[in-house]
């Protein structure tokens, strides 16, 4: 029986906007097991960003419980949540969010800089391994401004991996990439999934759903669909099928 990495029970999140209360999430419940590759989809305004922030411990729910890898996190304070983010979560953003004018390896080391338990040798070793996993082992010292969008996203993924997180949270990870590069990133995610990683991919692009094993759809702050995919497509094959570049 696989371990449950994420368990949300009746999560609600209200925001006070001026005089009105906006109910961004109206009672969301689901659980995700270790090694699952899940997409969370919804149009803008569906509450998926709010859900992502709560999943990523950047935000706390107004009510409900959130168990992350067995730890109850909904009532943690800012510093405790920072620690959880550092140890258990890896973020991949749409706009990469790398440090400007900084080498790939320094970027990947960043989360470990805030972990005093890791020595600088260990930190460097892990960073190199992570970059090798994403096929950038030969670009350790390249700076962010010397890289293409796809390479930058790979660095971001390596950064998300370096602390050996319980879950990788990707927010529109292919949003800024062209078709070819998007597929190569998806191919990378599928590879990480095969290696046993738990991945949550938040997107409004329904095409991506076919490459993952489970789709959760949000509308108006509630889950309207939670389906398992029977025919998962291979991004590697899709990449092959694309017309070759001149």
């Amino acid at each position: 029986m696989k371990k449950t990495i994420i368990q949300l029970t009746d999560i609600k999140r209200d925001f006070l906007v001026g005089e009105e209360t906006v109910h961004a999430l109206k009672g969301v419940s689901f659980s995700i097991e270790e090694g699952q590759f899940v997409t969370i989809m919804g149009k803008s305004g569906s509450g998926k960003s709010t859900l992502l922030n709560i999943l990523g411990c950047l935000d706390t729910p107004t009510s409900g419980t959130y168990l992350l890898d067995g730890t109850s996190v909904q009532s943690m304070n800012k510093d405790q949540r920072a620690r959880i983010r550092n140890r258990k979560i890896g973020f991949v953003f749409q706009s990469y969010n790398l440090l400007a004018n900084t080498t790939a390896i320094e970027n990947v080391e960043l989360p470990l800089m805030y972990n005093s338990a890791i020595s600088s040798e260990e930190r460097r070793k892990r960073a190199i391994e992570a970059l090798q996993t994403v096929d950038l082992g030969d670009r350790l010292m390249h700076k962010s401004n010397q890289m293409s969008g796809g390479q930058m996203q790979r660095v971001a993924i390596a950064r998300a991996l370096v602390n050996n997180p319980s879950v990788i949270l990707a927010d529109e990870a292919t949003g800024n990439l062209d078709t070819r590069t998007s597929f190569s990133i998806l191919k990378l995610f599928q590879q990480l999934h095969r290696e046993g990683r738990t991945i949550i991919f938040v997107t409004h692009n329904s095409e991506i759903a076919s490459y993952c094993e489970r789709n959760i759809v949000l509308r108006d702050g509630r889950i309207i669909e939670d389906t398992h995919n029977s025919g998962i497509l291979s991004a590697a094959e899709a990449l092959e099928k694309l017309p070759k570049e001149e």
Binding site: L58, A82, R85, E106, P111, Y114, S116, N163
Partner: protein
Amino acid sequence: MNLSNLFRIALRAISKNKMRAFLTMLGIIIGVASVIAMLAIGQGSKRSIESQISEMGSNMIMIMPYDAERAGGVRMGASNIQTLKNSDYEDIKNNAQYVKAVSPNVSSSGQFIYQNNNYPSSISGVTPSYLEIRQLKIKSGYMFTDIDIEENNKVCVIGKTIADNLFPGGEDPIGKIIRFNSIPFEIIGILESKGYNTMGMDQDAVVLAPYTAVQKRILAINYLQGIFCSAETEDLTPKAVESITVILAGNHRISNPDKYDFEIRSQEELSSMLTSTSDLMTILLACVAGISLVVGGIGIMNIMYVSVTERTKEIGLRMSVGARGGDILSQFLIEAILISITGGIIGVLLGFVASYGVKVFAGWPIFIESWSVVIAFFVCSAIGVFFGWYPAKKAARLDPIEAIRYE
């Protein structure tokens, strides 16, 4: 989170944008450099004054007549007051305790003439002990003697400036007769050169003659304009002054110190007065320079503040990968301190260069105290902490969700 990691993070962040870091610390650099240079100039002048004074004889005592009636505010020209007499000089010479040498003083300004050359200066009527009191030496020839004094002889000893101006051809002045306001004096000796003193006076523009000759032949007076003494040692100066006071008060029959018709100044007093003036000047200069340090600190605060806004996305990212508020605060605070301390180091070096520049090009004396460097460092660190605090706190309080979406 451990300090060395935070330090490394701060250092990496600064080195990313070296130009901005340099411009930020420019205010500190200039502030520290000016503080160091100002203090060096002030200390240099003070020490120079001190050594000049001690060169003149730190145990020197000057007695001058004093008009107690008209005192207060403007000092009367001592040359018109007639209360010091030859007998005062004799009594002090014979009876004062702790006093080593005594010389009366009468002087007059006028023109010195030799053949076609002339030079305006003054003639000082003294006794031979004057040389010892003022630490003067004879270079060639002789100083006049007590016999010359007894006989009111019109002989004199001159300084280098007088010699150069009256004998431009380089002839030996000794044995020649020069005229002072038409009165002939024979030169019997030349003084060793002493150069200019800190007050800008030419110590070589001097002519010494027996005081009796100056009193009788030039001024036609029978009183003295002043009496110079030297105490046995610098420490005994106050006691010597006391002893002299008793004698003079006795002679002049004045028992109330407020009504004394004489004034006794010791070199020690003059020295401390001059150095305290010099200290005041140093403090003022340093304050002005200190103000520029504060301005430099404000510059740091401005740049850090702008930097926080510019790096909002970066801060959001750092928080999302696990930086706590405290980590962000420390990072920015360390950055501010690193910038101000680096600015301090460069400023100190620049201050050294500027001070030596002043010495070489303007000829002013300088002296760099080690405490001025230490203080500069402490002040810089304090500035870094103080002016970096507010921006750092602002950074730490950012909300990661908003920060990361900031455009």
